[in-house]
């Protein structure tokens, strides 16, 4: 198992190093072959691991690879924990990554940074694997920051574009705000558990459930709540939850393959994975769970709404990703961790599919991303259209498609949850279903149906993408259809994750649902009568009416509800606030401290002031050096008197 694990992570790393350092020597084909070989090896080994751990129920592998540091009596290790949760994540990550690698050959064909791109995505795969395979918080943080780094490099891949290098800096900084909380959470874990090893921490967690901490003197808070909330701040950054979501839409500045891989399927789900991994901690803080639930619900609904007003094909999908991440977060908050991971998996397939299909549209139209300049494309791009339609149906949770199973499971779980905030969350995720269907089909209609709005030149050159692009779409489409049906039973209700996920009996909503679960067919038919299905249908119909049948309606609504529209268009003013208050504010404070503090106060008053007073003192003292001998003689006599007088004074002065 150790060898398998090492092979899995080192394959992509080797690919990244070779493609990155020797890109020029091995050429373009060399770069993609070496990167793909590394990731393919990784995928195959992940399948072997999956078979052993999940299908053959081999015992959990937990071992250190090397000791990174020993200090203060604590060993910091680099090591692997491979249980069923890890095994699933490994397969999902390496599969999507492999698809994206292959797709990239077609998508980036003409890009001068071809080798660099392959090096980055292989490095990303390595980092993401290190993250999901970690057996301790140190390595988790390593992987966490490393995927953030690659995300930074890839968003800014086209570094000549001002918008791209603005977006990557923004992404890095917003994530760093989350990481600040995350790191403090890790520090708090070390403080209370005196180890960063998962197994030891989880084992000791129940004993700490009753402990309190006074961060603000006088207010005793549960230690578990503090730790979980700090860790969750990290998850909010990486998994783009409100209010740390602002970086994800801008991250679309990166090439489309990485939007699919990093900013939809894998990296952004790291926060979801992390919270599921930390279920033995989160279970002991209902406060933290409630916060997770509410934040997730807010993200799921309000980010979805923004998808309706976007006109950039990738941004619509990006807001959809935000909303879907909100759904996963809601599942975590409701203690339905398995449902969250299940949705993570189905979403990875259909959202990667949607992004890659969108990419196919974008190259077909020569890098046009504005949906107002598309329309009627289904004739020209049949494969792209077919797969995009499958992705859309999966996304809105159409019965039978993968997203249906995972999303309905989440909605059911929230309904069953008793936590504070679950009522609000239930309403939010229900309305969210309507919103999802609305923006998804709006996109589908505007891109593939409706009138052709591109210019004549573009229309002449529209062509279906090459097989190297289509094949990954087809494979992802197949999984987007079947993954839900196959896995709902085992994953949610038959203890798939075993001991990897811990749920207290009083929180176990999935068990309650499972009591009435009679197989995937039953679940599907049952779903046909539920609210989510009706809402999704309503969403599709609304989209059809507004964008296909009566295209003048949206304009009227827009005029009638101008303030609301403006709020959505300005994305609830988050960006404006961050720019005007946080960014400009820090710069203003910095400038004030620099000019006012360093230059005026310290250098002006203290330093030059001191120099000035020394100067003044020396002019005074200079008077004394008059050059007249008798002055000096006089001074000597006074000095002598003082010198002699001092012992006399101390002798008599004290006694009297």
């Amino acid at each position: 198992m150790e060898t398998l694990a090492l092979g899995t992570v080192l394959g992509p790393l080797a690919g990244a190093i070779v493609a990155g350092l020797f890109g020029k020597q091995i050429g373009r084909a060399g770069a993609h072959w070496v990167a793909i070989a590394g990731v393919a090896l990784s995928f195959i080994l992940s399948l072997v691991v999956f078979k052993q751990i999940v299908l053959d129920s081999a015992p959990t592998h937990n071992a250190s690879v090397y000791t990174w540091l020993v200090s203060g009596g604590i060993r910091f290790e680099i090591g692997f924990l491979i249980d069923k949760l890890t095994a699933l994540m490994m397969v999902v990550v390496t599969f999507v990554s492999l698809m994206v690698h292959i797709y990239t050959i077609g998508y980036m064909r003409d890009d001068p940074g071809y080798q660099r791109f392959f090096s980055y995505i292989a490095l990303f795969t390595f980092s993401m694997l290190m993250l999901v395979m970690a057996n301790n918080f140190l390595q988790l943080f390593f992987g966490w920051e490393a995927v953030g780094l690659v995300s930074y490099l890839l968003i800014g891949f086209w570094y000549q574009r001002e918008s791209a290098i603005y977006a990557n800096l923004k992404a890095f900084l917003v994530n760093r705000v989350g990481d600040m909380g995350f790191l403090l959470g890790i520090a708090a874990v070390l403080l209370y558990f005196n180890t960063l090893d998962y197994a030891e921490v989880f084992q000791a967690a129940p004993q700490l459930a009753q402990h309190t901490i006074e961060i603000i003197p006088g207010y005793a808070w549960s230690v578990m709540t503090v730790i979980c909330l700090l860790l969750f701040i990290g998850a909010m950054g990486k998994s783009a939850q409100v209010p740390l979501h602002v970086w994800l839409p801008d991250s679309m500045e990166g090439p489309t393959p990485i939007s699919a891989l990093i900013h939809a399927a894998t990296m952004v789900t790291a926060g979801i994975f992390m919270v599921a991994r930390m279920s033995p901690l989160f279970e002991f803080s209902e406060t933290a769970l409630s916060v997770v639930l509410v934040i997730g619900a807010v993200t799921a609904l309000f980010m979805g709404l923004l998808g309706i007003v976007q006109n950039d094909i990738k941004r619509v999908i990006a807001y959809s990703t935000l909303s879907q991440l909100g759904y996963m977060t809601v599942a975590l908050g409701a203690s339905a961790y398995a449902a969250g991971i299940f949705h993570l998996m189905t979403h990875a397939f259909y959202k990667a599919l949607l992004f890659l299909a969108a990419g196919s549209v974008i190259i077909a139209l020569h890098h046009e991303q504005d949906i107002r300049k598309m329309g009627g494309l289904y004739k020209y791009l049949p494969w792209t259209y077919g797969t995009f339609l499958i992705g859309t149906l999966a996304l809105i949770g159409f019965p039978g498609f993968s997203g249906f199973f995972s999303k309905d499971a989440i909605i059911e779980a929230v309904r069953a949850s008793q936590l504070a905030g679950s009522g609000f969350a239930y309403a939010a995720v229900l309305i969210g279903v309507f919103v999802t269907a609305l923006y998804s089909f709006r996109l589908l209609f505007l891109v593939f149906h409706t009138q052709e709005r591109m210019d004549a030149h573009t229309r002449e050159h529209v062509h279906e993408s090459p097989p190297v692009v289509i094949w990954p779409l087809v494979l992802l489409a197949i999984l987007s259809v079947i993954a839900g049906f196959i896995y709902i039973g085992p994953m949610l209700f038959q203890g798939f994750f075993g001991e990897a996920i811990f749920v207290l009996p009083q929180h176990d909503v999935l068990q309650q649902i499972g009591a009435q679960f009679h197989g995937a067919w039953w679940f599907m038919i049952h779903g046909l009568t539920g609210w989510p299905f009706l809402l999704a249908m309503a969403g599709i119909v609304t989209a059809w009416l507004c964008y296909q049948k009566y295209p003048e309606i949206p304009g009227r609504i827009q005029n009638a509800l101008a303030p609301l529209y403006r709020l959505l268009e300005r994305k609830y003013y988050f960006d404006d606030f961050n720019d005007a208050v946080l960014a400009a504010g820090s710069r203003a404070i910095g400038r004030e401290l620099w000019h006012g503090g360093d230059e005026k106060m310290i250098d002006g008053v203290m330093v030059n002031g001191t120099a000035g007073s020394v100067g003044w003192l020396s002019t005074v003292v200079r008077q004394v050096q008059s050059g007249y001998l008798y002055h000096y003689a006089f001074a000597i006599i006074i000095g002598l008197l003082l010198l002699l007088g001092w012992p006399l004074w101390s002798l008599f002065g004290r006694t009297s």
């Binding site: 090397y66 000791t67 990174w68 540091l69 020993v70 200090s71 203060g72 009596g73 604590i74 943080f141 390593f142 920051e145 490393a146 780094l149 930074y152 800014g156 570094y159 000549q160 001002e162 290098i165 603005y166 800096l169 890095f172 900084l173 760093r176 705000v177 990481d179 600040m180 790191l183 403090l184 890790i186 520090a187 708090a188 070390l190 403080l191 901490i213 961060i215 820090s586 710069r587 404070i589 910095g590 400038r591 401290l593 620099w594 503090g597 360093d598 106060m601 310290i602 250098d603 203290m606 330093v607």
Partner: protein, 506 residues
């Protein structure tokens, strides 16, 4: 194996000093010979310092490679050298940095090359001496004489305001050091010895006296680190200093202040250190936050890195002075070791990263003759290899895991939470601030479209520049991926120090 009494420390102190004198004698007539001799001396010195690590005994806190010879016996002043787990890594850092500086000045320095190289070689010997000295007078003499070559480097090879900067640097550090001398004299009066280790063992040291001695040391060391509010000399000095001067200033000289806290302040005046630790912690956190914000708005790259240095050094002093709070809260010194060792690693890491960043700015300055951020933009288009290095070092400066910049910050933050949650929280703001000022600079300088003709005309780094940056990249990544071998040598010394300071001298 060398014999146990082989004077290795003396060798690595005097070899560069005599090498420097030889280079001086060669004079500018033989520039190529000057370069070759300088590089040979620096490299040989570096190789000779390696046995300090490989033959270091990691099981003892005692001084090793000790040399002792009477110097001025009337006052019991000795030529006394030795290293422990705190000073040994700093000596290696010094000899490593000097090699880089010699390489970096290879072709760039055209004016008085021999004197330039000689100044750095002589300074190397003196700096190694500072870290190795176990006699207070010897320490003081080396500490002060080290200023002279640096003063000359800034004053002769510096930028336009070099004289102002050189004098400001000299006065600041000199005034600080004078009070240290007074403290030494007082301690001599108490112990009849100038042996630093004897100072550690003063029994019955009343608090007022301790506080006065502590404050005397503080003035000397706080200026060197530098700590807020005595830091304003550093940005000026860096801006005016030639690249090599900035490298040594940032990589080594700033470390001397921090080293002083561990060698003098904490062990000699533990009760005063404890009584005033709130002050030290406050100043450290001000350095992290206040200076981080100031760094954000700098327009000059060197100034930005200088402010970044001050901010990063805040972690070092924070790591040292949270020890007492941790001891009080947890009843053991174990957690404190994490902080102190974190501070030490931060010193080494900052030595690599700040040196690398100053060298990167130097590479650009040599071509464009400007340090202003606004004069650049899109450097990656014309210098892709250089840009890769610069981005790597910038990311290291933001404390990215896998680079050395992460290790110290991580250890100090993990340790600080044991003292007080808010110490850790304020220190952790560097995750955002450090990333903001560093990567914003990278965005404006490295990325983007080619901004002007100067950038369009840039040539990528040559083999020599590549070598210098590659050596630093190896150091930054090596220490980041596997810090254990370096931290392991510190354990006994740090453990001993913490046990020592946990016992009151009152």
């Amino acid at each position: 194996m060398m014999p146990a009494d082989f004077p290795l420390l003396s060798l690595v102190i005097w070899l560069p000093i005599f090498g420097g004198l030889l280079v001086l004698a060669l004079s500018d007539k033989y520039t190529q010979a000057v370069r070759i001799v300088s590089l040979s001396v620096a490299t040989l010195t570096f190789l000779l310092t390696l046995p300090l690590y490989t033959q270091f005994n990691m099981t003892t806190a005692d001084m090793q490679f000790v040399e002792l010879a009477p110097w001025i016996s009337t006052f019991n002043i000795n030529y006394h050298l030795g290293v422990d787990g705190i000073s040994m890594p700093l000596i290696l850092l010094t000899s490593f940095s000097t090699v880089l500086v010699v390489l970096a000045g290879w072709r760039v320095i055209e004016y008085k090359l021999a004197q330039y190289m000689a100044a750095f070689l002589i300074m190397e010997g003196l700096m190694i001496g500072v870290f190795a000295a176990l006699d207070a007078v010897l320490f003081y003499v080396l500490w002060e004489s080290m200023l002279v070559p640096m003063f000359l480097i800034i004053g002769i090879w510096g930028g336009q305001r070099r004289v102002y900067a050189a004098i400001k640097f000299f006065l600041y550090t000199l005034i600080g050091s004078v009070l240290m001398l007074v403290a030494f004299l007082y301690l001599y009066y108490r112990t009849d010895s100038f042996a630093i280790l004897d100072f550690h063992q003063i029994p019955q040291f009343d608090l007022t006296a301790q506080i006065l001695v502590f404050l005397a040391f503080l003035t000397a060391f706080a200026v060197k680190v530098p700590m807020w509010p005595v830091h304003t000399w550093l940005p000026d000095a860096h801006v005016e200093a030639p690249t090599g001067g900035s490298v040594i200033l940032a990589a080594i000289m700033l470390k001397m202040g921090a080293y002083g806290f561990l060698r003098f302040s904490l062990p000699i005046t533990p009760d005063a250190s404890q009584a005033l630790d709130w002050l030290m912690i406050t100043l450290s956190l001000i350095a992290v936050v206040y200076i981080g914000l100031v760094a954000l708005v700098q327009e000059d790259m060197k100034k930005l890195i200088a402010y970044s240095s001050i901010s990063h050094m805040g972690f070092v002093t924070l790591g040292f002075f949270i020890a007492f709070d941790i001891f009080e809260n947890t009843g053991s010194m174990q957690g404190a070791a994490l902080g102190v060792e974190g501070g030490l690693i931060q010193m080494l890491s900052h030595g690599f990263i700040s040196a690398a960043l100053f060298l990167c700015v130097g590479v650009m300055y040599d071509r464009v003759h400007s340090r202003n951020i606004s004069d650049y933009g899109g450097v990656v288009n014309t210098m892709p290899v250089f840009a890769s290095f610069m981005v790597l070092f910038a990311l290291a400066n933001t404390g990215l895991p896998g680079t050395s910049g992460f290790v110290g910050e991580f250890m100090v933050i993990l340790s600080a939470i044991k003292a007080n949650f808010w110490y850790a929280a304020l220190a952790a703001t560097t995750l955002v601030l450090g990333a903001a000022y560093t990567l914003w600079m990278v965005k404006r300088v490295i990325f983007g479209a080619i901004a002007n003709q100067n950038v369009a005309a840039l040539q990528d780094i040559n083999a020599r520049e590549f070598l210098v940056l590659a050596l630093l990249a190896v150091a930054v990544l090596g220490l980041g991926l596997w810090p254990k071998p370096v931290v392991d040598v510190m354990h006994p010394t740090v453990q001993h120090l913490l046990e020592h300071i946990s016992q009151s001298k009152l």
